[in-house]
């Protein structure tokens, strides 16, 4: 009896020890970088709390490797920074994926009228830069007979500029991140700064991205955008409800993309573009739920995906309603 208890105790201590060892390993790696950095910072005379160059931010680990305490500290730091910059209470959410959820998107191209309300709804919701403009959604305009025969992207015009849309004889094809199941961008990224979450959303850690733009070269859908300079968002238009992996303000020199409004959809809301669409062309839901609208559409409509031959397996389905 006593023996087994003792054994149990040793086991507990051992697991604790192991946990501690693991912990200390990752901590020591970080501490080493941090100590080296602070030392170097002191050497070149960087102030400890420089606004432009935050050492804590610089030595922050990859998001998926942060401990809960570190995430808490990071979020606190970011919220303080953003709130100060935009003069309002900004929250940074880190809600993870829900079990049994795999998001899917449907777009009825026979309904789309090319009004671009989704484009600007997205810009406002997701804090894209206004100057220079960054648009996560791009709407291509095709001649009607062109698009019926075959979607040839070289024939599409993303820069159409009519007083009114739809223009006669034209059809429209909105494109944003296709949230591929086999994402080329994730394969390309040299630092694992972009990855696919269990609910299917491909996200970016803006504090880990080195800005090499290889993912932009790799993406077949032109869905990724680079912050060529410091993004500019007017303080009164800035959306303060943000997610770490989504619409929080981005620094210059990193890549960004559509996250299907991760800050909304992980709390059961629709993406902003779905709400903005005046003709109901945009559908969104859980592919694992047999009763969802998106499943109904997939089973009853003629759906297709863009550039199927590349086999990226988009979870963004186009259909003729």
């Amino acid at each position: 009896m006593k023996g087994s208890e003792q054994k149990k105790n040793t086991e507990v201590t051992q697991t604790k020890k192991q946990a501690k060892m693991q912990d200390s390993r990752s901590v020591s790696r970080r501490n080493f970088m941090k100590a080296a950095g602070v030392g170097a910072g002191a050497l070149i005379g960087l102030p400890r709390d420089a606004d432009a160059f935050d050492l804590e931010e610089y030595f922050q680990d990859h998001f998926t490797e942060l401990s809960p305490e570190e995430i808490e500290r990071t979020i606190e730091r970011l919220e303080r920074k953003y709130s100060k910059k935009y003069g309002k209470a900004v929250t940074v959410d880190t809600t993870g994926p829900n079990d049994d959820v795999l998001f899917g998107y449907g777009l009825d191209i026979s309904r789309c009228i090319g009004c671009r309300r989704c484009v600007y709804g997205c810009v406002e919701e997701n804090n894209q830069s206004r100057d220079p403009q960054i648009h996560w959604i791009r709407v291509l305009e095709f001649d009607n007979d062109e698009v019926i025969r075959n979607i040839n992207f070289d024939e599409g015009d993303p820069f159409y500029d009519h007083e009114e849309a739809p223009a006669p004889g034209k059809s429209y094809l909105p494109i944003a991140c296709q949230q591929c199941e086999n994402p080329e961008c994730v394969k390309a990224c040299p630092t694992t700064a972009t990855w696919q979450e269990p609910d299917g959303i491909v996200v970016i850690d803006y504090d880990w991205c080195i800005g090499c733009r290889y993912c932009i070269a790799a993406c077949p859908y032109g869905a990724r955008h680079f912050n060529w300079t410091e993004p500019e968002i007017p303080a009164d238009e800035m959306n303060p409800n943000t997610h770490y992996l989504g619409n929080r303000p981005r620094p210059h020199g990193v890549v960004e993309k559509c996250t299907w409004c991760i800050q909304r959809t992980r709390h059961g809301r629709y993406p902003a573009c779905v709400e903005a669409c005046p003709v109901g062309a945009r559908k969104f839901g859980n592919l694992l739920d047999p009763d969802s609208e998106i499943r109904y559409l997939m089973e009853h409509k003629r759906t297709f995906v863009l550039k199927a031959e590349i086999d990226t397996k988009p979870k963004f389905f186009y259909f003729y309603g």
């Binding site: 790696r29 080493f32 970088m33 610089y58 990859h62 490797e65 220079p132 791009r138 291509l140 040839n152 992207f153 070289d154 024939e155 599409g156 993303p158 494109i175 080329e184 394969k187 390309a188 990224c189 040299p190 630092t191 694992t192 700064a193 880990w208 991205c209 080195i210 800005g211 090499c212 733009r213 290889y214 932009i216 070269a217 790799a218 993406c219 077949p220 859908y221 032109g222 990724r224 955008h225 680079f226 912050n227 060529w228 300079t229 410091e230 620094p251 210059h252 020199g253 990193v254 890549v255 590349i310 086999d311």
Partner: protein, 422 residues
């Protein structure tokens, strides 16, 4: 340990002290580097918006020149094979100079990538253990590892060789040969992984062809040797060293063969693209004929092809090849032709038109050109400094700064230092 210190001291002294011509040359390089620093400062303050790269064409001359210079780094391999696999004496003499060109080229490559990165200070995210590299999936990740490995390997080879030469002791043959032979597959690997960066992307049909890998190696073995032939003749004049004509001729002969392979691969690509004429041909069309008034690269495309083809025939015919002036002109044509083919013709048409058909015509901005000039200046500086140290230790009859001949030729494989050159 003492001799290592003495060697280091000698090397630094050699780099810092020289005649007025030497200082004038360093000052010229200093001007180039200053231009680069001021360009980089502008980019640092405003971001990459001061370049002409944009989302449809996210890479420009930085990555183009990078791909080209990875090829120039093949210089070392082109000499290591005849020198150390076939033990051909005239080339063995100049292998170290080839390695120095490789070191300078790889350093320029690294600087071009750093200039291209939006957050160069986060480079440590790429490193194993401290960072989180995406290996082996990401070809940039692989390339960074291999390129840095190649740099270290070449630095080790050169410094070990020069050190042995300095202390007048024959090098450890097994160790040295192992490193030297290892540098050959390493050189092939840097080209292969650089080609992989481009050709593994199904999103970009212009690159998505396996032939890109042999084309990379072929262009590399043209540009590197062409540069060497020119650089060695300049060195021979300036440093008054004995580089045998025979060695230069042999390099050129090898280059002609590779140039033929390169032209053949290029021809195969062009025929395949234009004869099958699928929607994917549009990129090559853009390069050679332009699309709807967008003809920014057409002149480059044809002049690049003309350079390579002209040089090939001039070097193929023995009569013209043996004429020193024509040979040098041809080498210059090869160098320029390969730069156009790789620095411009590889990257830009791949992005034009973009994946959604946007036709954005890129040409480098003033700032990009300034930064590129600065980086080339750094490369030339590295080459100058290293060859200052290497030349008296590698060649038997250098004239030292006092103008005297200071050492006699030793037996093959036991290289003597230059005792008075210190």
């Amino acid at each position: 340990m003492k001799s290592v210190m003495a060697f280091t001291f000698y090397a630094v002294r050699k780099m810092l002290l020289g005649g007025s011509a030497y200082y004038l040359w360093l000052a010229c390089l200093g001007v180039l580097i200053a231009v680069g620093i001021s360009g980089y400062h502008e980019q640092f303050v405003h971001g990459h918006i001061v370049t002409n790269m944009r989302d449809p064409v996210p890479w420009g001359i930085f990555i183009g020149t990078y791909a080209f210079l990875v090829g120039v780094a093949a210089a070392a391999m082109a000499l290591a094979v005849p020198g150390y696999v076939y033990h051909w004496k005239p080339i063995k003499d100049i292998v170290v100079l080839g390695e120095i060109i490789a070191i300078s080229a790889v350093i320029m490559c690294i600087l071009f990538v750093m200039a291209d990165l939006g957050h160069p200070e986060r480079f440590w995210h790429l490193l194993p253990i401290v960072g989180k590299p995406n290996l082996p999936s990401s070809m940039i990740g692989m390339n960074v590892m291999i390129l840095n490995g190649y740099l270290v390997l070449n630095i080790v080879i050169v410094s070990y060789f020069l050190y042995c030469s300095y202390v007048d002791r024959p090098y450890n043959k097994v160790l040295f040969m192992t490193l030297m032979l290892l540098s050959i597959p390493a050189a092939i690997s840097i080209h292969t992984t650089t080609a992989f960066i481009f050709n593994v992307l199904p999103a970009r049909p212009y690159w998505n062809s396996a032939i890109l890998v042999p084309r990379f190696i072929a262009t590399a073995l043209c540009a590197g040797p062409a540069l060497m032939v020119l650089a060695f003749q300049i060195l021979r004049k300036v440093a008054k060293i004995n580089i045998e004509d025979e060695a230069l001729n042999k390099i050129v002969e090898m280059m002609v063969i590779v140039l033929f392979v390169n032209l053949l691969l290029f021809f195969a690509e062009v025929v395949t693209e234009f004869r099958s004429a699928t929607a994917h041909t549009i990129h090559m069309q853009y390069y050679f004929t332009g699309i709807g008034g967008h003809v920014g690269l057409v002149t480059w495309a044809w002049s690049g092809a003309a350079c390579n083809i002209t040089a090939f025939f001039l070097l193929l015919i023995p009569k013209t090849r043996k004429n020193r002036i024509i040979m040098n002109l041809s080498c210059a044509l090869v160098f320029v032709g390969v730069f156009i083919e790789k620095g411009i013709g590889l990257v830009l048409p791949g992005f034009t038109p973009g994946t959604l058909g946007e036709l954005y015509e890129y040409s480098p901005s003033r700032v990009e050109v300034m930064i590129a000039i600065g980086i080339v200046g750094v490369g030339m500086l590295v080459f100058t400094l290293l060859s200052r140290v290497a030349i008296p230790l590698t060649f038997s009859e250098p004239l030292d700064d006092n103008g005297g001949i200071t050492a006699t030729r030793g037996e093959p494989d036991s290289y003597r230092p230059d005792p008075m050159g210190i």
